[in-house]
Symmetry: C2
Subunit: 456 residues, 2 copies
């Protein structure tokens, strides 16, 4: 196993125009593995994500595992747990891309994915072998396992593992690929993508850790609070160093009666001590099933109500407003919860809320898929789903805060296009002047897109 793990293949950039030199490098040394109950999908076991049963970091350190690539573009940088755990791995990598990630917040904190194209690994053995699943820390060693940063990364990593495993089991056919990438400026990510499954056309779950800086203006735009609390301390154009960590996901099923689902939970902190949490989970059906919406919204209402009964109505409204496609006068889907600039509680409490929201994802979503996954559908119904996917693409490309910001950052050389646009559907459709027939199921849900409703 260690032998297999030692070969790390750094992939050529997949994003055109941001190509960096491809290189292979063998990295020796031990790594740190998280042990799960079972290795294979067929075992049906998933990584236990409950807080009580797992230490925040790490589950078990297995000597002989791989180490992350810690040398990029000729300079060494500290990366992760292997150093904390005594790992000694070191690899020299020449010419692995020089694009700076100075403004690399990209889309990863808002939407899905991010990272630098210049160095990434796809070696499955790095992360799963003989019943072990590894999460090599992406946080800097200074942000140790007990820090809010280190703990939030672990919450996201556990949720990613757990959700992907559950989705694989549910799909029964396809599995998630895994790609880990590091950034010159620090941090990195783990992109997991499932394609052409039994149930899912495309599903992606992306973990990101970002060390970067952004202009004061961008920070002000990103958050009201930071604008008030941090931006004012800065001259125009001055850069604000920040940390961000998040997990984001989009799942597009094949069956038009199975809704698309998206979530994103993230933590931001600036060097000025300002921090906040953001995120949400939302659902995008092509056909209205009121019971489904009661279940989905009800699940998140329950999660919210355990903290504060005012949260669900507030975050539900926020989602309806955020996921509006202004040029259509309709929402992308039927909402859920969305929040940002959120720091009214202790970090502990916010992390607990994020984790509970993440833990609720499959509970909120899968019963709906289970109900509809085997329903027959007509070509017309498939076309309607595709038209709604076109709307999804419109929203993501034109309005989604993270995508728009990420694409702008890419022009400057930062970010990873495939991660930023992973949220796009695999297929989409635009029909000129398509209007659902009056009284049809398509018109029924269109009414809900135009006039957001209360479901619970």
């Amino acid at each position: 196993m260690p032998g297999k793990n030692r070969k790390r293949v750094l992939r050529a950039s997949l994003a055109g125009g941001f190509a960096a030199a491809a290189a292979s490098v063998a990295l020796p040394g031990p790594g740190c593995f998280l042990t799960t109950a079972g290795a294979g999908r067929k075992s049906g076991s998933v990584l236990s994500g409950s807080r009580s049963s797992l230490p925040l970091w790490p589950h078990r350190c297995v000597p002989g595992g791989p180490v992350p690539n810690r040398v990029t573009a000729g300079r060494r940088r500290a990366t992760g747990i292997d150093e904390i755990a005594g790992g000694l791995g070191l690899g020299e990598l020449a010419g692995a891309g020089a694009a700076a990630a100075a403004l690399g917040i990209a889309a990863e904190m808002f939407q899905i994915g991010g990272g630098a194209p210049e160095k990434s690994t796809t070696d499955e053995q790095q992360t799963r072998s003989n019943g072990t699943v590894v999460h090599e820390r992406l946080c800097d060693p200074n942000d140790g396992p007990d820090s809010v940063r280190g703990r939030f990364e672990m919450i996201c990593a556990e949720a990613q593992e757990k959700i992907c495993k559950t989705i694989e089991d549910f799909d029964g056919k396809a599995t998630f690929s895994r790609e880990r990438y590091l950034k010159d400026a620090g941090g990195g990510g783990v992109s997991r993508v499932l394609r052409n499954g039994e149930v899912f056309e495309k599903a992606g779950v992306n973990l990101s850790v970002v060390y970067s800086q952004m202009p004061a203006e961008a920070l002000r735009a990103a958050t009201t609070k930071a604008g008030k609390e941090t931006g004012l301390k800065l001259e125009p154009g001055e850069k604000v160093p920040f940390f961000a960590c998040g997990l984001s996901c989009v799942m597009h099923p094949k069956n038009p009666f199975c809704p698309t689902m998206h979530f994103n939970y993230r933590y931001f902190a600036t060097e000025f001590g300002v921090w906040w949490f953001g995120g949400g989970t939302d659902i995008t059906p092509s056909y209205l099933d009121v019971e489904d919406m009661k279940h989905f919204h009800g699940t998140y209402k329950n999660v919210c109500d355990q903290f504060d009964p005012s949260w669900y109505p507030r975050f539900k409204k926020w989602a309806d407003e955020y996921f509006l496609i202004p040029h259509r006068g309709e929402t992308r889907g039927l909402g859920g919860i969305f929040f940002d600039d959120f720091n009214s509680q202790t970090p502990e409490e916010h992390m607990r809320f994020s984790r509970n929201c993440l833990n609720a994802v499959t509970e909120a979503y899968l019963p709906i898929l289970k109900k509809h996954r085997n329903r027959g559908f007509s070509e017309k119904q498939k076309d309607w789903q595709q038209i709604r996917r076109g709307r999804y693409a419109e929203f993501n490309l034109v309005y989604d805060r993270g995508t728009v910001f990420g694409l702008k950052m890419l022009k400057g050389g930062a970010g990873r296009i495939e991660s930023i646009l992973m949220s796009l559907p695999e297929t989409a459709r635009w029909e000129y002047c398509h209007v659902p027939e009056e009284g049809s199921p398509e018109a029924e849900i269109m009414d809900a897109f135009k006039n957001p409703r209360e479901w619970v």
Copy 2:
């Protein structure tokens, strides 16, 4: 015939969120018809667009034709040729939408289509019956048939008719719908769309005439010249009245070996006497055929060379730069010509150049389609075409100057979403981390997208 023509059906808005009241109104009175050599598609005849054989305006006025709807939202406005030609038609229309088109430049001048959703007609009889094709003027009567505005409208209207007819003949199965719309602020448009043809998945040709105003900043952004010559005279925020007229088109064939083609020719004039022409024709294949590119670029090189041998290299380079997708580091297609802020010649000369470019569209494009329309293709090749369509959608939604501006205007209530987004492909595809196989035909054309070449 006149009886049939008298019924004008005003359609309900098709754009969600911008819906206005639908109404039907019967309009009496004569109209002005342009006579073509043949009425039906099967006759194979097309409207002759050669400059020498046709007066600039109008071909022949046929009493008894329809008149445009000239009353909107309860107020009368002068619309067109029927008044010049002595038409007396008048219809009262109550409640036909109140959305102002104050900032209604929308996308129509850059990309494709535009207009206000509040009043449009689809009655085929209005425009074609017994061998006649009508173009009811959209220009204000003050901009008469001999003015540059009136003449450029006519150049565009003739080209629209001619191109649609030729494309219908070539397709052999589907025909173009026709929708005429007027704007409260003046002007309007004629949208023509063909769907699900033998050759074409979707083809749209849109004529627009816009009377509007834009903030000085927007004008400065729209054109370097206006920024220098007009913007400086204005206070920030001050509105600049302008006129614009243009014809734009996108054609998406079904066969992956048949390229998508786009063109757009436009004329802008502000009340401060600044005017310019812009436009271009570009081609977007999914597979590279060097001979095709030689033919397409060669055709436009010939058109340019008749005016100035420096134009083709200049406009070819401009197209390569304009149609870049920065976040991919690749161009949308294989270019053609593109120009803007162009007023170095007399308006006469510019109009002649625009017309020659428009006349060259089918000559440049159809031989390529003819060569490939019956080629067999695999699912993989179709998927690749769909992936390139995804890139097309990315460019149009994220970067296209007209689309981006049009969507912004829509938020303010102006424009017509279906016209603005008519340029989107009917179907598109995104595959995570898709990279063409080395040495494959897909990789071959990708190289040309990344490294623009000289074709002639």
